[in-house]
């Protein structure tokens, strides 16, 4: 009986039944992302602040620009904890400024502008950066011109450029879109146009490395057009560096807008943004610290949370890091 070790040949060829349902890529991403506590917190806070500024005005319906001179200089209600004689009121939970404008309404309205500028400028910078990076990485003929152009733009100092742009383009944009929208377009445009370079460089580097890999060669050998190669094979693979520069870009844009408002060249003086609220409150900083702290903390936390989010996303989106 030599065939005791008999193996059923059919068995070996049989497919194994999957023991558990297949995991999607996005589930892996989420599992990895969840491990990063900072990113989780950052994402949560960003979601909260975005909802705060979008839904906020429908819940807190006070007009941010409404003056109420009799109720000026009110303190936030928490001041009552240590100072029983402070001027507080429940209908002004964060107090009012020196002209009686409600701080909470201002925080909401100001956050709307700051975040909108941040997102829009980031998307613009990302689009430009990716486009230029991919073009110069993939097409050798464009590389020289585009990268020298990138160097040129990199060497421009941002703030002076912004000041000049504001002087030159304010009038025509104001005439075309109105004072606030015109200024919005101008600020978003200028920030976007001057902050795509880092993205472009990173993307170019990644594309240069990727396009020599075998799967690109394979794709090319079966006649895939450059456009398809870029969209099907290159872009998904460079998603993670793009994501990271996106988050960094959002943070930079918010800070630049604040700096501009702080310098008094951004939006009209009665149009609240976090940066402007901060600037307006500096003279009375010692007496009413909350007027500086609230917008200041909002800017810092938003920027911080976006940075953490970017960090977590990079880890989660990169299949080589995932699972470690």
């Amino acid at each position: 009986m030599t065939d005791t070790l008999q193996i059923d040949p059919i068995e070996a060829l049989k497919d194994k039944e999957p023991s558990k349902p297949p995991r999607s890529q996005w589930r892996d991403v989420w599992d990895q992302f969840r491990k990063h506590k900072g990113a989780l917190f950052g994402g949560g806070f960003l979601l909260f602040i975005t909802l705060f500024v979008i839904i906020g005005p429908y819940i807190w319906t006070l007009d941010a620009q409404k003056l109420d001179i009799r109720n000026k200089d009110m303190r936030p209600i928490y001041t009552w904890l240590w100072d029983g004689s402070a001027k507080i009121a429940w209908n002004r939970p964060l107090g009012t400024d020196n002209l009686g404008r409600d701080m909470l309404a201002n925080m909401i309205k100001g956050g709307r502008t700051s975040l909108a500028v941040g997102w829009a400028a980031m998307v613009l910078a990302l689009f430009l950066g990716t486009l230029i990076g991919v073009l110069s990485g993939y097409f050798k003929r464009l590389d020289g011109i585009l990268m020298r152009f990138t160097d040129l733009v990199l060497s421009l100092p941002l703030l002076p450029l912004l000041l000049v742009a504001v002087t030159l383009f304010r009038q025509p944009l104001r005439a075309a879109f109105g004072p606030e929208e015109g200024m919005f377009i101008l600020i978003v445009g200028v920030i976007g146009i001057t902050s795509w370079m880092q993205t472009a460089r990173i993307v170019r580097g990644e594309v240069l490395a990727l396009k020599e890999r075998e799967f690109i060669l394979a794709a090319r050998s079966i006649g895939t057009t450059p456009g398809k190669i870029i969209t099907r094979h290159l872009l998904p693979n460079i998603m993670s560096p793009i994501m990271v520069s996106a988050t960094l870009g959002l943070a930079t844009a918010i800070i630049t807008e604040s700096a501009l408002s702080f310098l008094g060249v951004g939006f009209p003086s009665d149009f609240p943004t976090w940066g402007k609220m901060l600037a307006d409150s500096v003279p009375r900083m010692t007496e009413y610290p909350e007027r500086v702290l609230l917008p200041g903390i909002a800017i810092s936390l938003t920027v911080l949370s976006v940075n953490y989010l970017g960090d977590g996303l990079r880890d989660a989106l990169d299949p080589r890091v995932r699972g470690r």
Partner: protein
Amino acid sequence: MKFRTLMLGAAASFAMAPMAMAERGADGNVNIIYWQAPSTLNPYLSSGTKDIEAASLVIEPLGRYDQNGALVPYLASEIPTVENGGVAADLKSITWKLKSGLLWSDGSPVTSADLKFTADYCMHPEGGCAQLAKFEGVEGVEVVDDLTVTVTFSEPKPNPYGPFMGGQSPILQAAQFAECLGARAPECTEANFGPIGTGPFTVTDFRPNDVIQMEANQNFRDASKPAFATLTFKGGGDAVGAGRAVLETGEFDYAWNLQLAPDVIAKMAEGGKGKTIAAFGSLVERLEMNMTNPSPDLPEGERSTAKHPHPFMTDLAVRKALSMAIDRDLLVEVGYGQAGRPTCNLVPAPALYASDNTDCLTQDIAGANAMLDDAGWVDSDGDGVREKDGIKLSILFQTSTNAVRQDFQALIKDSWAQIGVETELRNIDGSVYFGGDPGSPDTFQKFYADVEMYANNFDGTDPESYLAQRTCDKHPGPDTQWQGENINRFCDPAYDALVAELGKTGELEKRGEIAKKLNDMLTKESYSILPLVDRGRVSAHANSLGGVVLNTWDSELWNVADWYRIK
């Protein structure tokens, strides 16, 4: 007799003792901060106060006004009057005599040729002189001898102290500016940035819109002055920073014009490093109504010129309604406290010239609304903004960047919203706004807005040249490099005629009457200027800085030669 002379000598030597001990340059360095940075040191090319006052350290007029508004000779040996024969009996000429032995800081003598040159420089037909109003009615300047000039006027001039008097009309050195006449004036950068002068200090380094380094003028006429060897004049920043630098941290010795909310100043003064000084003068914070069309659709060079009248500001009812809607008491309470009073007058002082016009002091929203309704301005499309014949009452309102001014803007916008006028606010950095650069679209002279706010005053006690700023021929425009004092392009032949009459009237009572009438024509009759607040000037100096006398009638730095360090 002998004994008496001896006693007098002794007394004099006693009196002189502290002076003799004082020595030029003994007190080291003094730091001055102006939160608007000077962009030139030639007052004839800029009407900005910061430029005029910075220049007053270096170049001097023949005479200045002191803190009471009295005339004090500086380069002149005495103030000419009718009594001492310096002013002709028919009031058509004035003869100035220089002190003998005066030297420019480069060592050359000051002569009457320099005086004549200064007048020619400002009155050059091609040049845009920012101080032309000071030379109103001047027919000619004749050199009598090396130290004497006679200024002749085309009409009898009861107040002949226009040319060469006060911080706005200092003497330039002919040798230095000889090549800079007329349209070439702005091109002489070196001369404009470092004029050779007779003042207590000379420029060693000038950085436009930033900092000026100066040192004591070795040829200054008083050998014991100035007490400081060097002077640093820092420009720029904001009023808060300037106030803190003097009152809280003590980094600077003198801060000019702390235009801050009263609670903020009080808080700073608790720092204990310095003290605030205040004085009322003729400084009035006002709104100027642009009578010309600032629309960006017009070609450059025609915007805000008399060629295109304003679409709605030319309607008296609109201007009056805008004035009625403003609550001036509230503005004072928010912005100035003790350092301001509500006013309806462009000339708030001295009493002789101040009109009794108080009709604007009470806010009247209902009245303003009714007036606009009657004038046909109604909100027909329900958007909250009144319109007539397709023109909306939508105003662009600009001013300089300053916390108090931005608060004012917000309050005024709120008031105007209540009468159906839409307002867009704009604020411009003070150094640019008041900079007078003809290339910038944002200067207050160009006035590319419908309404603008700023403060101005006149030096001396006589408002004649101040009121003469509003005649038709003084519109800023491209042909004068946008210089000119008639900021809002007001033009009324009757007003011009009355200004000419004021120039001919010698009797004080009568002059007062005419000046009041002129003031009323600009304010309560035409509402082309809406005065808001009669502002006291608040400045601050360090506790260790002595000799400061705040002067609202001339440059604040008028007696800088007398400043010293308290030891």
